[in-house]
């Protein structure tokens, strides 16, 4: 099995000033705000580095790049609801599946010999959300296929739009 990809984490220092659409003001849950906040143990010190809008814009670009250039035949994306805006339409593509955690589904695809890309971001996107702002994007090929350098560069170019530090990673395991 071959695994290639990128791991990294968001960095508030890498954020550029940017005007964002004011889409975050329609939170339906406003009346429960105090009630909820008192029951959740969120980390108040961890910064919100990207908004929902920016994260979904990133996913839109990244998934579109992967599917348009056929870099991977199927994609698993980690999404944690609730969201204050709709998911990008590209995530409804039949080649994309969304789960709260990707490990089990990735293992199922691996067991069937199916190549796939996991987009596993654990971003803190609003004040109550958990997350450590880390991400891992991994192409998993149970049959040992490798992404070529051009494919990796296409992915890297999109990842570089995030205010993040990241590294390229690769590993190989012998077939069982």
């Amino acid at each position: 099995m071959n695994t290639q990809g990128f791991i990294g984490s968001l960095d508030i220092q890498r954020r550029k000033p940017e005007v964002l659409p004011a889409l975050l003001g329609n939170a339906l849950l406003a009346e429960d705000e105090l009630h909820i906040a008192m029951q959740l143990q969120f980390d108040e010190r961890l910064p919100i580095v990207v908004s929902f809008y920016e994260y979904y814009r990133f996913l839109d670009r990244f998934v579109s790049t992967v599917l348009t250039h056929e870099l991977a035949p199927r994609i698993l994306v980690r999404i944690k609801m609730p969201s204050t805006i709709p998911l990008p339409c590209i995530l409804l593509d039949a080649r994309v599946a969304i789960f709260h955690d990707l490990d089990v589904e990735s293992a199922e695809l691996t067991a069937r010999g199916l190549d796939h890309l996991c987009i596993d971001a654990n971003f803190k996107l609003y004040s109550w959300s958990a997350g450590d702002n880390s991400f891992a994007i991994r192409f998993v090929s149970p049959r040992g296929h490798r992404l070529d350098s051009a494919a990796l560069q296409q992915m890297q170019d999109v990842i570089a739009t995030l205010p993040a530090n990241f590294n390229c990673v690769s590993s190989q395991q012998p077939e069982e």
Partner: protein, 279 residues
């Protein structure tokens, strides 16, 4: 006919989860899910299943890490011996997306368990009543689906399992069009939809008038998220015990995601509803 077989629908209350401390929530929920699952799998020894848990209402409690869905899935998987995953991204329509994912990638596993879990552990007012769709109630609905002998046919039939998205600002208008398209392809199927409060339902009345459809149970239940169409089928007043019947099920979410599924009950299908205090 390209259709999934509904072997069982089991609808139980989830009120026992409300107000539980986080530490007890996963234990209480997983115990219930393991019991429900074992009731199905014990009738089918040596049969491979895939188990998917989905939810609309367990959103902030997941994203806020009040409980970890991965832990829930793992406890249920360990307790049942069946691979189990969790998703809530498509809100009330998540179950349809999971069925599509299964058909695309795991057609070798013929038996699907869909568990739609809705509860209100933090006792939020939003999840009791809100301006968007009115009253909400909560159930755990477990559905046992069986794939036909040739599951690939479901995917090539564009309406057998179909998902999509309406523009949320004109959602009901677009959804009415989607219902009409789906129903015209399968006019013999009885439509089972979400429960809508009166004003919303009125907008769909003209669309539904030409087709067989099940009564809206909003007045009795409120909106029960992804469970709605399954409750409708379980409560179908026109179906005689032991009779086969073909349905077109659909759910739509507040962000406009929708799903349609062709599924059928047969004489052996088992239906159970835990009756409870309704609205």
């Amino acid at each position: 006919m390209n259709s999934l077989r509904i072997n069982s629908i089991n609808i139980v209350q989830s009120g026992f989860l409300n107000g539980l401390p986080a530490a007890d929530f996963v234990a209480a929920l997983s115990s219930k899910l393991i019991a429900l699952t074992e009731a199905v799998t014990s009738t089918r020894p040596q049969t491979a299943f895939s188990h998917y848990i989905c939810s609309s209402t367990l959103d902030i409690v997941c994203s806020g890490a009040w409980f970890e869905p991965a832990e829930l899935s793992q406890v249920v998987a360990t307790g049942t011996g069946i691979s189990c995953t969790y998703s809530n991204a498509m809100q009330c329509a998540t179950w349809g997306f999971l069925v599509r994912q299964h058909l695309l990638h795991k057609p070798d596993v013929k038996h699907i368990l869909l568990t739609i879990v809705d509860a209100n552990p933090l006792q939020m007012r939003f999840w009791e009543d809100n301006v968007s769709w009115g009253k909400t109630s909560h159930r755990i609905t477990q559905v046992h689906l069986e794939l036909p002998d040739q599951p690939a046919a479901l995917l090539t039939d564009v309406e057998a399992i179909r998902i999509g998205k309406c523009n949320p600002t004109v959602m009901l208008y677009e959804y009415a069009g989607e219902i009409q398209k789906a129903a015209l392809r399968h006019p013999e199927r009885t439509i089972a939809l979400c429960f809508f409060e009166g004003k919303m339902r009125k907008g769909l009345k003209r669309t539904l008038a030409e087709f067989p459809y099940l009564p809206d149970l909003y007045d009795e239940y409120g909106h029960v998220c992804g469970s709605d169409p399954w409750i409708s089928i379980a409560r179908d007043p026109q179906r005689q015990q032991g009779e086969s019947k073909h349905y077109l099920l659909s759910s739509i979410a507040s962000e406009g995601y929708f799903c349609f599924l062709n599924a059928s009950l047969n004489a052996q299908s088992h239906i159970h509803i835990e009756e409870c205090q309704v609205l």
